[in-house]
């Protein structure tokens, strides 16, 4: 009888050892799966950071008449600064440009404002050819040719539809021609993409300043709540 009892005990013990080993193996596997999954997430995050860092241009050429930190183009000089953040693909920027054009023209002619254009590119996704960036870069070329304001107006007048291919570089060169940018250097500047890497810098600096959308207008360093000819005039009256 006693040998039967000890046999039973031995069997029970053996079972327990097997079970414990199985549980241990199970825990080990679970941990490996967990560690692997955590590593996958971590690596994915690092890849994202790496890809983004790789996309950032390390150097850029600065157009003529740029601001001191190269985040915009000084179109005209005057006592009060008017800074316009705009995207050439943005319909509201076109509306603002067209509704305020007469007012701005008068102010510029009277030498009352320092007009700074910040051609940002936040709507590259709205065209298949990154029109926002290409158009903004071409504004840099127009600044080189001392015809920024006229080119700016002409570019908005021909704004392409959102969701399409945008205007081709050749078309941009042609638009430049209509405002007197007939020099071959303008053409090669646009088609050669001379300022394509400058545009992300403009956009970055704008975001750093708190740009939420376009158009955004600062008069004398103060942001307009609703950019329009009327609010621009009112802010100028308050600033001078």
């Amino acid at each position: 009888v006693s040998s039967r009892v000890s046999q039973k005990q031995a069997k029970r013990q053996a079972n327990m050892v097997v079970r414990q080993q199985l549980a241990k193996e199970q825990r080990r596997r679970k941990m490996m799966v967990g560690v692997g999954a955590a590593a996958l997430i971590l690596v994915a995050g690092l890849i994202g950071w790496g890809v983004y860092s790789g996309q950032q241009p390390t150097s850029f050429a600065t157009p003529a008449h740029a601001t001191s930190n190269a985040d915009g183009l000084i179109a005209t000089t005057g006592p009060v600064s008017v800074e316009i953040y705009q995207d050439y693909m943005c319909p509201h920027c076109k509306e603002f440009e067209q509704s305020a054009a007469t007012t701005i023209d008068q102010l510029v002619k009277a030498g009352k404002i320092q007009l700074v254009i910040h051609p940002v590119a936040i709507l590259d996704g709205a065209s298949s050819t990154r029109y926002s960036t290409r158009a903004a870069a071409s504004a840099g070329c127009a600044s080189d040719g001392n015809k920024l304001l006229a080119y700016n107006t002409a570019l908005f007048a021909q704004q392409p539809e959102e969701g399409g291919a945008g205007l081709s570089n050749d078309k941009l060169v042609q638009i430049g021609g209509t405002v007197g940018l007939t020099d071959a250097s303008f053409g090669s500047c646009v088609t050669g993409g001379k300022y394509l890497t400058w545009v992300p810098h403009v956009t970055d600096e704008a975001s750093r300043r708190g740009l939420q959308g376009t158009p955004t207008v600062y008069v004398g360093g103060k942001k307009l709540d609703e950019p329009s000819a009327a609010s621009l005039t009112a802010a100028l009256a308050a600033a001078s």
């Binding site: 692997g36 999954a37 996958l40 994202g48 959308g213």
Partner: protein, 186 residues
């Protein structure tokens, strides 16, 4: 007990452990439906993260600007968050779809969703008018567009419920967990 059944007894014991332990196996219809609800939760969450990550991964600079629009982090921190987040969302979608480390993936989903809800609530409380950038490039809303923070938060709360369910019951059919860890996974 006759000698012949000693080895057999061991086998029987092992079979017992490899089945769902008595007591945790829910009887009736709920027990049959629950694992399949888990599969639904996995697929829905994976689909959402796939769409969210996929919509942002093509323009990481825009993703950073969308984070910046919340005005919670500095711009430089926002760019890092904006670059990392879409890839994490895509990796998470892969884990959920494959059913790999399901509980870990469900908890991470829940943490992300809680952060998203907190972010949207914070924007709402501060009266900012932005696109949440959940499935898009985000940024400020155009004049005349009104934000839909309530709907966005409700959607994220619903997804959070799915993630919590999956974290509680991570055992699901058609999962790598089941392949790698057996029926007793988690």
């Amino acid at each position: 007990m006759p000698r012949g059944t000693v080895g057999c007894g061991c086998v029987i014991d092992m079979t017992a452990t490899s089945q769902e332990p008595a007591g945790t196996h829910p009887p009736g219809r709920w027990g049959g439906i629950r694992p399949w609800l888990g599969v639904v939760a996995r697929v829905v969450l994976a689909g959402v993260f796939l769409a969210a990550g996929g919509s942002k991964v093509g323009d990481l600079a825009a993703s950073g600007r969308a984070v910046n629009a919340y005005r919670i982090f500095s711009y430089d921190v926002s760019t890092v968050v904006g670059a990392v987040q879409p890839f994490v969302e895509l990796a998470l979608a892969v884990l959920l779809l494959c059913g790999l480390a399901t509980r870990f993936a469900a908890i991470l989903s829940a943490i992300l969703l809680i952060l998203f809800i907190a972010g949207i609530a914070s924007v709402w409380a501060r009266g900012l008018s932005i696109d949440c950038g959940c499935f898009s490039k985000g940024g400020a809303l155009a004049a005349g567009q009104s934000p839909r923070y309530g709907i966005e938060i409700a959607r994220d709360v619903g997804l959070l419920a799915l993630a919590a369910f999956l974290a509680s019951y991570p055992r699901t059919p058609f999962s790598l967990d089941r392949r790698l860890l057996g029926m007793e996974a988690q």
